[in-house]
């Protein structure tokens, strides 16, 4: 490289320029989709997850109260300025019909918080000026709970602008009045059960899909072209069939007077219908059916690349069929097993429609609770916090999947 001529240098420079130009072209080709997805995908999801730690409800309707509580360190007696501020805010928010926003938020922080606030809103409307100018006495007269030290502390914790309340609640944790993080009492625990259920249903579905899909994929890759073609159609047809059609189909098959119960009763195996749907059985069966193609297709792709000679060589060296399978064939299929299992599991933990339609009340998974808190109880903070938990699980598993998938491409 010592005796580079000027012409060569120009060539190198021209090449670098062209290369840069192509890079920019590539970038501008990707940019439209990238920008599109930022606004229609990334930002909406970010906007939802933000609600898991944002806490502006009380602050938005009770500005004076929040100004007082944010200036207070939370120890000892509540500052005297709290009571007139609280009274003014409650009256103003009751007049503008926004008091319910604060009532809902305080209901999470104080036992019976909603009733407490709504009652105060009704009573305070009638009081212009308190006797002796003492608002604290008025609140004490309304309900002793108001003047208990932990109530003021709870209002302070709900004053925002950020909170760890929802994220902790999504894991059945909460903060004590002293600020320590403790587990919710056993009888009030919900979300750990839901999380465990989400994982156990998804795990079962993954396991069944593997147990059913592995032999099927194996036979698919080892059969004659025609048989393999037919077997592929049997996988692809459900794959292309609408999720709703397949879920409806399982209701037809498994319901009380459905085909399966009819068949089992006719051949005399049972004498009254089994409960096969609107419970865990229905959810696992229907989800396994829906997700089975996601197991079979990656498995078959990997199995197609395995040379049958490797197994034959092992057999000719004296290995039993079982040993040849266990030591030679199965290890070669592991990338397919991992890819299929992760794909099924990742899809399963986010499932909503199938459990909602064929499951019972005790079979609903994380997604159902997210939708429930958005639509029915309007607890957006908790919905977002559960979303954070679900998305965190999905992201970790997807990164593992991407590592396996790219590892295979370069191997």
């Amino acid at each position: 490289m010592t005796d580079v001529t000027a012409a060569e240098r120009d060539l190198v420079r021209a090449h670098a320029r062209a290369e840069r130009g192509r890079r920019w072209t590539a970038f501008f080709l990707v940019a439209p989709l990238f920008v599109f997805l930022i606004f229609t995908f990334l930002v909406p999801i970010g906007d939802m997850l933000r609600r898991s730690f944002m806490d502006g409800d009380v602050a938005s309707v009770w500005p004076q109260t929040v100004a007082v509580t944010r200036a207070w360190d939370g120890s000892g007696e509540a500052p005297a300025a709290l009571w007139p501020a609280l009274a003014a805010d409650i009256k103003a928010s009751a007049a503008s019909d926004t008091v319910a926003v604060a009532a809902r938020r305080l209901n999470y922080a104080i036992d019976g918080g909603r009733t407490l606030v709504m009652k105060a809103a009704r009573r305070l409307a009638k009081i212009e000026t308190p006797p002796n100018g003492d608002w604290r006495a008025v609140f004490a007269d309304l309900d002793e709970t108001w003047v208990a030290p932990k109530t003021a502390a709870a209002i302070r914790r709900a004053s925002g602008p950020v909170t760890d309340f929802y994220l902790l609640a999504a894991l059945d944790l909460r903060k004590t009045d002293a600020g320590a993080i403790v587990t919710t009492p056993e009888k009030d625990r919900i979300y750990r059960t839901v999380l465990w259920r989400t994982f156990s249903v998804s795990g079962m579905v993954t396991l069944f899909a593997l147990l059913i899909g592995y032999p099927y994929a194996y036979l698919m890759t080892r059969s004659s072209k025609r048989v393999a073609g037919v077997m592929t159609v049997f996988v692809l047809l459900p794959f292309w069939t609408s999720l709703l059609v397949r879920t409806a189909a399982w209701i037809v098959l498994l319901q009380e007077h459905g085909i399966l119960n009819d068949l089992l009763m006719r051949i005399g195996l049972i004498d009254h219908p089994l409960r096969l749907i609107f419970n865990r059985v229905g959810v696992v069966v229907a989800m396994t059916h829906v997700l089975l193609p996601f197991m079979v297709l990656p498995l078959a792709a990997v199995m197609k690349g395995i040379r049958p000679e490797t197994v034959r060589a092992a057999r000719s060296l004296g290995a039993t069929p079982m040993t040849a399978f266990r030591r030679i064939y199965f290890p070669q299929t592991l990338p397919g097993v991992a890819a299929g299992a992760l794909l099924v599991f990742i899809s399963a933990i986010g499932y909503y429609i199938t459990p909602a339609l064929v499951g019972g009340a005790d079979d609903q998974m994380l997604s159902w609770f997210i939708a429930f808190f958005v639509n029915d109880t309007i607890n957006w903070g908790l919905a977002a916090a559960l979303g954070v938990v679900l998305l965190a699980c999905t992201t970790v598993l997807s990164v593992v999947y991407a590592k396996i998938a790219t590892g295979r491409r370069f191997a």
Partner: protein
């Protein structure tokens, strides 16, 4: 076909049969439910149950005569086609850009572009519901089409990317050296070769939209409901055979899509072998 010369032991033969039997049962498990629901579309009963006492076209006629379902069919195809078109244009451009050149943040961008495939749909639907509300996009076709285009775009990126994997980029250089401007070179050289991938991606994107129900659940006004959305309500409220009639329409579409994709796959394979 090379066959093992070793004679099979009885145990091996037995396990071979067991395997075939198991695979047959699996095939039944895969296909039977779908076949089971379709005949109920021709039942004259009031519920989604067997036995069918008399066959009749009552529910098929009811399906096509009902304004609710006619609107749903129209919505499904309209939203599917429009969102697939957006996803195909944006996805194809992105796949061409990602195919060859390394640039700053490529890995991150690839991750983002593919992320709609794995993000749980409820999280996305709720996010859109919050984000679109102040923009006035909830209860609009625009909102649903944008959502479905986002969900369909990764399919296009993946299928076009796959068909570009076998593309010889020297062809583009050759075209450029012969004086073809980039757009002309793309249209005349690259596009014909990756077209099966582009069309396959478009069909996948259409299918993704056609089957999607959760974002529609959160975003659609009553007159913007799609077929799966009406099926969802139908399955929760009354299990009427009209669901089976809707299933027949969905199945017919799915089979057309499946056949189209398989034909394109063959065509792409043939082209690769000729090249």
């Amino acid at each position: 076909m090379s066959q093992s010369t070793m004679p099979l032991t009885p145990l091996e033969r037995l396990s071979g049969w067991a395997l075939a039997g198991f695979a047959a049962l699996t095939a039944i498990f895969l296909i039977a439910p779908i076949l089971a629901i379709l005949p109920l579309g021709f039942s004259d009963g009031e519920f989604l149950v067997y036995p069918i006492r008399h066959f009749s076209m009552k529910w098929m006629e009811a399906f096509f005569a009902s304004e609710k379902w006619a609107v749903a069919v129209k919505n499904s195809f309209f939203i599917g086609a429009l969102s697939a078109a957006i996803a195909t244009v944006l996805g194809t451009m992105a796949a061409v850009g990602l195919a060859r050149h390394d640039f700053f943040g490529k890995k991150l961008i690839t991750g983002l572009v593919l992320s709609p495939l794995v993000v749980p749909i409820v999280i996305y639907a709720v996010g859109l519901y919050f984000f679109f509300a102040p923009l006035g996009l909830t209860q609009t076709y625009t909102g649903i089409v944008l959502a479905h285009a986002a969900l369909g775009s990764p399919f296009v990126v993946v299928t076009v990317g796959a068909s570009l994997a076998g593309f010889d980029h020297n062809l583009m250089r050759a075209a450029a050296s012969l004086g073809a401007p980039p757009m002309l070179a793309f249209r005349r050289v690259m596009l014909p070769l990756v077209l099966p991938g582009v069309v396959t991606g478009a069909l996948f994107a259409f299918a993704a939209s056609f089957d999607e129900v959760v974002t529609v659940l959160f975003l659609a006004a009553p007159d913007q409901r799609t077929i799966p959305r009406e099926m969802f309500s139908g399955l929760r409220e009354s299990l009427s055979p009209i669901i089976a009639a809707a299933s027949i329409v969905m199945m017919a579409t799915a089979i057309v899509l499946l056949i189209a994709v398989e034909l394109l796959k063959r065509r792409a394979e043939r082209m690769r072998n000729e090249a």
